[in-house]
């Protein structure tokens, strides 16, 4: 095969919708020498793009996925390959109607039109539905279908027109060469080598196999999605074009039905999960249709036929309409349902652009092209970062178990706090036996089993019943317990002990440590040994990259502590910026150390019982850390708090964690110590104090002044994002983060109606129900929400446009179709509970 250049700036492997749109966006951003290579023939090389049903609902609970889809629709429209058809989601059950209410709230939050429709309305839109089967639905006018193969061709051609792209079909990659951890070249099966600065794997279901050539791991699994095409449909005989009638999602049966010319396509996410490994996909030559269209397994689909027939009896019951095509189509599933994007942690210059579906592909391609070129993208895609996966989360077993669990949830009713059932108990705290004996209910984070609350605290419910808000709705109370509120009060009244083993801990050691961390962190890092610094970490544009604490343990030894969920992404960010001269070493101490927190007004009394070291106000000031001895164990104590109470984080070697826990627990009895879960630590106590969480309030989309976390001065030393940050400080922020109190009575006047609670991501509206969007187009919604037992109100955090962010202003949050008043209690920095931080002092 000729036509392959010797050198390229970027080699893109895979010419499906992802690879084509990625080539296009790189070319538009000025990348000059791009090579797009695929083993199959163009324009349909045989991947999942070729058999996709190609319809798009820009409706998701996830803001990120909705924005990527909206951006993709915009791009498809520009290319002239999008046909708007409208789309329905129909409900057969009351529970589903509730879920559709939630989906309408999400649609409203992210700026999509949604109309509640009755069975009669639906019958008018889709005359072939038996409306007696359903109880209602939602109509989304923006839904449509796309010609994804044509879109890919147009994008490829545009990149070629710009003189930036060489396209090579029918050429299979045999190897990716890596030198010193950096990608070097791509070698084709016939032995040609293309040297490249960057290589992007856009290979859909084959991505893990290709990544393996370079020693990298892309955690996704090819999964079967069954689809049949039935025709000819008499009703469609006179329609023009691909689609005239709205697409129907029959949510309760996990199916969709959509017109495709003279046929109707019926697809299912309800059959048993069928996964296979990328190595087991047939070659192009061996495939009857294409490698990603496997032989249909009728017995898996049979139960769904009945459901489809029930909904559309006349259309699908027509004896003259036959099943003309039926496939087990392969799609990519990942262990957490999100795409897998970004530079692989294993190999510099090797990028994954994988596990993207048609609906979000051009949006993803644009975002990753920006990320590759500028270091960040306009749309925040940090949740898709391939660096997020811990090693066990990339294992074949974990990927398979989670993908199988997620498959049947494709159209499922998934609670925002819902926990996975599979692949649990992987990372256990040294205190796990203790917390387990206390009846801990575990939520998983980054593989860690974290006590969310403790059933052993149930007796506190009676004690604090006046301060605990009960939730009567099963949905609101699911994955929640009033015990969380009781633990909260117990901690604020006495003292709480928190298992914080999921912290990610990195030690930074070496002569260059200080100057390195100065450059990484916004806060001044040239502090005395024994100081603890909380600092934002910014990207080049001044957006939030991370927030974490850094302890100075010695002149050339610092310790970074960050959340487990973002631990590996933060680790990659820090590792990527290490000086090349070897003057700094970053050591991951996460598994070596465990952490627990002791907080509450009686924390000092308790600590005095277990240590003879000075823990007095004068001897152990806020914001400092030092080694103390508890029993016979040396512990690094750090006097900071994420819950707004006097107390310490205690860092112990993992082998002695349970021992220290026992000492604290026994000594704590006389002070009313309660084990306290993450429900308090991460939600109720945090929000009462207005403490921001990364991924919720803090994202690359908001800058430091907008979060209300700017310091009075900016240090003179240079740091990443400084220029942008200085510029952000010169003008009023576009939006400001606020703390809201959320009322108990709905605004719609439905007195006596069951109270509903926001659970997160609910849209913030004017009291007239109007959507609020700031000058940068960012909508207002609850970034976090939870109860505030110590302030007597449900609380929320969320951004408001600068002019609206005024204390006392009243807005509305929408919960399950009802509006509740949300009053601005705090604008910017500050907290509704203990605003002067008296509890932290002393």
């Amino acid at each position: 095969m000729s036509g392959l250049p010797e050198r390229a700036d970027v080699v893109i492997i895979g010419a499906g919708i992802v690879g084509n749109s990625f080539a296009y966006h790189l070319a538009k951003l000025g990348v000059q020498r791009i090579v797009l290579i695929d083993k199959g023939p163009l324009p349909n090389p045989g991947g999942s793009t070729g058999h996709a049903s190609n319809f798009i609902y820009p409706i998701e609970h996830s803001k990120m996925m909705t924005r990527l889809t909206q951006d993709s629709v915009r791009q498809y429209k520009e290319l002239g390959v999008f046909t708007q058809s409208g789309g329905l989601e129909v409900a057969r059950t009351e529970e589903r109607m509730q879920e559709l209410e939630r989906r309408m709230v999400s649609a409203l939050a992210w700026g999509e039109e949604a109309q509640r429709v009755t069975p009669e309305d639906i019958k008018k839109l889709v005359p072939y539905i038996d409306e007696s089967v359903i109880i209602g639905g939602v109509y989304f006018p923006a839904v449509g279908v796309v010609d994804s193969l044509r879109a890919g061709t147009l994008m490829r051609e545009e990149a070629q027109r710009l003189g930036a792209l060489t396209v090579v079909g029918g050429t299979e990659v045999g190897d990716i060469k890596v030198e010193n951890g950096v990608v070097k070249s791509v070698v084709t099966l016939d032995g040609q080598e293309i040297f490249a600065d960057k290589v992007a794997i856009c290979c859909g279901v084959w991505s893990p196999k290709i990544a393996k050539m370079a020693g990298a791991n892309i955690p996704l699994i090819p999964t079967v999605h069954q689809m049949i095409s039935v025709g000819p449909i008499a009703l469609f005989a006179d329609t023009v074009g691909e689609i005239t009638y709205p697409i129907v999602r029959d949510m309760d049966t996990g199916m969709y039905e959509r017109q495709h010319g003279g046929d109707i396509e019926v697809g299912s996410y309800a059959h048993r999960p069928i996964t296979l490994q990328p190595e087991d996909i047939p070659s192009i030559e061996e495939s009857a249709f294409s490698p990603t269209e496997l032989p249909f397994t009728q017995e898996d689909f049979d139960p769904q036929l009945q459901d489809a027939l029930q909904l559309m009896p006349e259309l699908l019951g027509d004896e003259k309409a036959g099943v003309r095509h039926a496939i087990n189509g392969l799609i990519s599933l990942t262990p957490d349902g999100h795409p897998v994007l970004g530079e692989t942690p294993e190999v510099k210059g090797l990028w994954s652009v994988a596990a993207s579906w048609i609906k979000e592909a051009p949006g993803i391609a644009r975002a990753v092209a920006e990320w590759m070129t500028f270091g960040q993208s306009e749309i925040d895609i940090h949740e898709t970062d391939i660096a997020r996966f811990y090693p066990h989360q990339k294992s074949k077993l974990h990927v398979k178990l989670r993908a199988e669990e997620l498959f049947n949830k494709t159209y499922g009713i998934v609670h925002p706090a819902e926990q996975y059932a599979s692949s649990r108990n992987v990372r256990l705290s040294p205190m796990h036996q203790r917390t387990s004996a206390l009846g801990a209910v575990y939520f998983e984070a980054a593989g860690w089993e974290r006590p969310q609350w403790y059933e052993s605290n149930a007796p506190l419910l009676e004690k604090y019943k006046g301060s605990i808000t009960q939730r009567t709705s099963e949905w609101d109370a699911r994955w929640w317990s009033p015990i969380i509120d009781a633990e909260h009060i117990a901690m604020r009244e006495n003292v709480g002990l928190v298992d914080l083993s999921s912290f990610a801990i990195f030690d930074v050691i070496g002569a260059g440590s200080l100057s390195y961390l100065q450059y990484m962190a916004v806060a001044q890092m040239d502090v005395a040994v024994g100081r603890v610094v909380y600092t934002p970490i910014l990207d080049d544009q001044g957006g939030f990259r991370a927030d974490l604490t850094i302890m100075r343990l010695a002149k050339d030894h610092f310790r970074i502590v960050t959340g487990g969920g973002v631990g590996l992404m933060d680790k990659k960010w820090f590792t990527d910026h290490l000086p090349e001269d070897g003057s700094v070493i970053l050591y991951d101490a996460t598994a070596a150390l465990t952490t627990m927190g002791v907080w509450g007004p009686k924390a000092r009394e308790l600590m005095s019982k277990v240590t003879s070291d000075d823990v007095s106000g004068a001897g152990f000031r806020y914001g400092t850390c030092k080694n103390i001895t508890i029993g016979n164990t040396e512990v690094l104590a750090s006097r900071i708090s994420y819950v707004g109470e006097l107390g310490w984080e205690l860092y112990v070697t993992s082998d002695q964690g349970a021992h220290v826990w026992d000492l604290l627990f026994e000594a704590g009895a006389e002070f009313g110590l309660a084990p306290v879960g993450i429900g308090v630590y991460g939600t109720t106590a945090r929000i009462e104090k207005g403490y921001r969480a990364y991924g919720n309030e803090l994202t690359p989309e908001y800058n430091l002044p907008e979060t209300g976390m700017s310091r009075k001065t900016v240090k003179k030393e240079d740091f990443i994002g400084k220029t942008a940050h200085l510029s952000h400080r010169t003008k009023n922020p576009v939006a400001l983060l606020c703390t809201f109190t959320i009322g108990a009575e709905s605004l719609d006047g439905a007195k006596g109606a069951e109270r509903r609670f926001p659970l997160g991501n609910e849209v913030i509206l004017t009291t007239d129900g109007e959507r609020i969007v700031d000058a940068k187009g960012r909508p207002s919604y609850l970034t976090s929400t939870g109860s505030g037992p110590s302030v007597g109100s449900q609380l929320g955090l969320g951004y408001l446009p600068f002019d609206l962010a005024v204390e006392g202003n009243v807005f509305a949050v929408q919960c399950m179709g009802r509006l509740y008043p949300a009053t601005v209690a705090v604008v910017g920095n500050g907290s509704i509970f203990d605003p002067t931080n008296e509890r932290l002092k002393g």
Partner: protein
């Protein structure tokens, strides 16, 4: 009319075939299963005859229990019931196969349910040995027409059409009879959804056949050397249009 139609479960080829390590079978790791195109026409013809003259059609196969998939496919098109001669999936030769099928027909006869017409595909879709239909006709002492591409039934007689070189032969046989049919006999229908659902509850009569023993046996499979027919470049861009029209005329796709 009482019709018996015989089919065989075979791998659905479409891509490059690979053989199992012992070279005695096709590797079906990536393959689905189907019946051959001749047999699809046989099933379609059986259903049409029943639709026209009344009666019922039964589908029969000999093979692995998984062949239920193919029996249900035939029943989803309108066949009333099925007979599965479950031999555990062993590859029986044509003598044993024909013998087992003839026994079933004899049993049907003894129950007063003798088929008026027994349909086969012209040859087995995989092994292609052109024998089973002929042997069954012989064993049952029934008239036989092979290579049939047209069927007309009038007053208990059947006229079968077959293409022989440049001529068309019409053969009249009395019923009961055996036909082996070829693709092109009709245009088979697709299964409808109701058909598919009904097929699930149609009866499958399971029989354990006895192997008679074939003097011939499969020694080894060998894949033919791939013949690459090189494409012909007719031209590029608008210049090619004239030549494409010529080719289309030659093929008879557009009028000369």
């Amino acid at each position: 009319m009482r019709v018996l139609v015989c089919v065989k479960r075979v791998p659905q080829a479409g891509g490059k075939l690979t053989l199992t390590d012992d070279k005695l079978a096709i590797d079906t790791k990536f393959l689905g299963f189907t019946i051959g195109p001749h047999e699809e026409c046989a099933v379609e013809e059986a259903v049409r005859l029943v639709e026209k003259f009344g009666g019922s059609a039964t589908v029969l196969t000999l093979g692995h229990a998984d062949s239920v998939e193919q029996l249900q496919f035939a029943m989803s098109l309108g066949v009333a019931d099925a007979i599965l001669l479950d031999n555990g999936g062993a590859e029986w030769g044509p003598i044993s196969t024909a013998n087992a099928i003839a026994k079933v027909v004899e049993e049907m006869r003894s129950k007063g349910d003798a088929p008026d017409l027994i349909l086969f595909g012209n040859e087995a879709p995989d092994s292609g040995d052109f024998q089973v239909g002929i042997r069954v006709a012989n064993a049952l002492d029934l008239p036989l027409v092979t290579g049939v591409k047209g069927v007309e039934v009038l007053d208990g007689e059947l006229v079968a059409r077959r293409e022989s070189g440049a001529a068309i032969e019409l053969t009249k046989v009395t019923l009961p009879a055996v036909l082996t049919v070829k693709e092109g006999l009709n245009l088979p229908r697709y299964p409808s959804l109701p058909g598919r659902l009904k097929a699930k509850s149609k009866p499958i009569n399971k029989v354990s056949p006895q192997e008679k023993g074939d003097p011939s046996k499969l020694v080894q499979l060998r894949l033919p050397v791939e013949e690459r027919t090189g494409g012909v470049l007719l031209g590029e861009g608008p210049d090619a249009v004239g030549k494409i029209i010529e080719v289309l005329k030659e093929l008879g796709v557009v009028a000369r």
